[in-house]
Amino acid sequence: MPDEENKLFFGVFTDEDDCLEAVKACTEANFTYHDVLAPYAVHGLDRAMGLPFSKITWVTFLCGMMGTTIAFLGMGYMSHWDWPLNIGGKETLPIPAMIPIMFELTVLFGGVCTMLALFAFCFLFPGKQARLFHARQTDDRFVIVLEMDEDFNEAKAREIFTANHAEDIREVDADYDINSGPEGAA
């Protein structure tokens, strides 16, 4: 896990392919990632960083199943247990007629919980201040931020970044954020 104390070493790239190649090389060289920032989802970048597949699918599955169960039990309670009504002699527990609402609540619970889980997994909330390493990191710049821990090999990192056409390479403090100072305004 990233350490809050270490200084950081970052490179800025202008092309997704350069960034992807650099990440592959950094993973191979066993560098510790502080963060890798991309303005859009680059296919394969997460796997190149060595990240596992997101566990968010489990949240969707479990919450979706919860929706199905709530729909089934709720409708069963209403129409079979609490107040059974004779509607044209039909069953009081009409399974086929319950399928549409069970489906809808599965999707509703699954979908809304996936959104909430996404916010929780990424620790996003309204009013959160985004940490920026480059003023255009959400526009057209890719940033690879490495931790300068005891195993860090600066020459190697610099070599990887330069070989992949890094536009800017910097060594900064652990709490570097261009929102809090004028240094990164360029």
Binding site: D15, D18, P39, M78, I87, L108, G110, P126, T138
Partner: protein
Amino acid sequence: MAHHYSELRMPLVHGGKTMHDITNDVCGSIEGKPSMLWWIGWMVSGLVALMGVLTIGFQIYKGIGTWGLNKTVGWGFDITNFVFWIGIGHAGTLISAVLFLFRQKWRTSINRSAEAMTLFAVMCAGLFPLIHMGRPWIGFLWAAPYPNLRGPLWVNIRSPLLWDVFAISTYFSISLVFWYIGLIPDLATVRDRAKHWARKFFYGTLSMGWRGSVRHWNHYETSYMIFAGLATPLVFSVHSIVSMDFATSVLPGWHTTIFPPYFVAGAIFSGFAMVLTLLLIARETMNLKQYITEDHLENMGKVIILTGSMVGLAYGTEMFMAWYSGSMYEQYAFINRATGPFAWSYWIMVSCNVISPQTLWFRKLRRSPIFLFIMSIFVNIGMWFERFVIIVTSLHRDYLPSSWAHYYPTHIEIMELIGSFGIFFFLFFCFIRLLPGIAFGEVKGVMKMGQKHKHDDKPHDDQTPAAEVSHA
């Protein structure tokens, strides 16, 4: 090199844009001063929306008697408008979810506006069942499953009308979530470009501190796939359930198993027509021709031919089944549609929905913005009349000739229909002014398609897309 698209593919974005150009173009339209055309559109639609809201207020104050409904024709413009708007709402989710699962990369230029259109169309749709209850503040609660409003009675879970309540509200919620999740990275870009504190606050709050970390993209992409997977069956379920409002009844003309696929095809057909109408206006007034290219228009034209032909096939199948069923009531319902007092509406429907889209077999017409605009208006009209034909012609003459009646809409009903268009366009004008109208984060991800690759050994002094060269 990493993943590459073939240089032989058609480029999705024209004009040799860089990523920064895309950000500038799309954000520019919400950062600068709005154009005169936008002001005119916003004000005109706002006035029409205001008229609609006032008319609805008057109708709720006076009661449903202000409508032309009678004992025989209990559903008229109200439910026609509801089904029409719900159908319009289907294209957005189709583009954002179904085309995503099919890896149709061209969806990226149009999905954001199409999704916004879905939300506004579903809002307009939800309005009509609400106001047709007469006293919506009571009626709305009748539809919710909670006890003790009418004694300990519960809602009837066998009724498709109740399924509809769940289907429409789920559809709206999931479409909203899908749209918002898609917006977050783009809102972060707008936030990082903002100079004024109010803009920083507005876009900063909405973008939830998104910074583009790959750890977040990992979860984000997985959730996006999940939303697409959830929304795909949802979009088919919603109009199927709407069609069951009719199909589970015993009324001739409604009582048919063809309704769910027929309604879904019709919904996608009308929705794509409305997407075309809106995007042709947006690309003209907001200067987006290099993003919404003629290739996009052509693809949408192809979807319209497919779904329009399915709708035509459904009209033919309905006619055949009425004859083949041997039921005289069913047969009369269809003879009455084509030759009875509402025959004019039937033939408007057939000519707009079956004949007009067939012109799109010609490539030249599929790529002509003016022709497509006119055609999309015809389809919109035709699909409104389809719902009118299904609802009114089936109701006005059923089993018992002594109860037959005619239906004349009042000016209140007509003003509410026009008002709903005002609300729809007003919301759309607000949207393209406040939020990025093109999902530029997604467009950047596919812009390498058909472009020469950077740092390749080949000379790359010209940024001309390779595919364009081969066409020359």
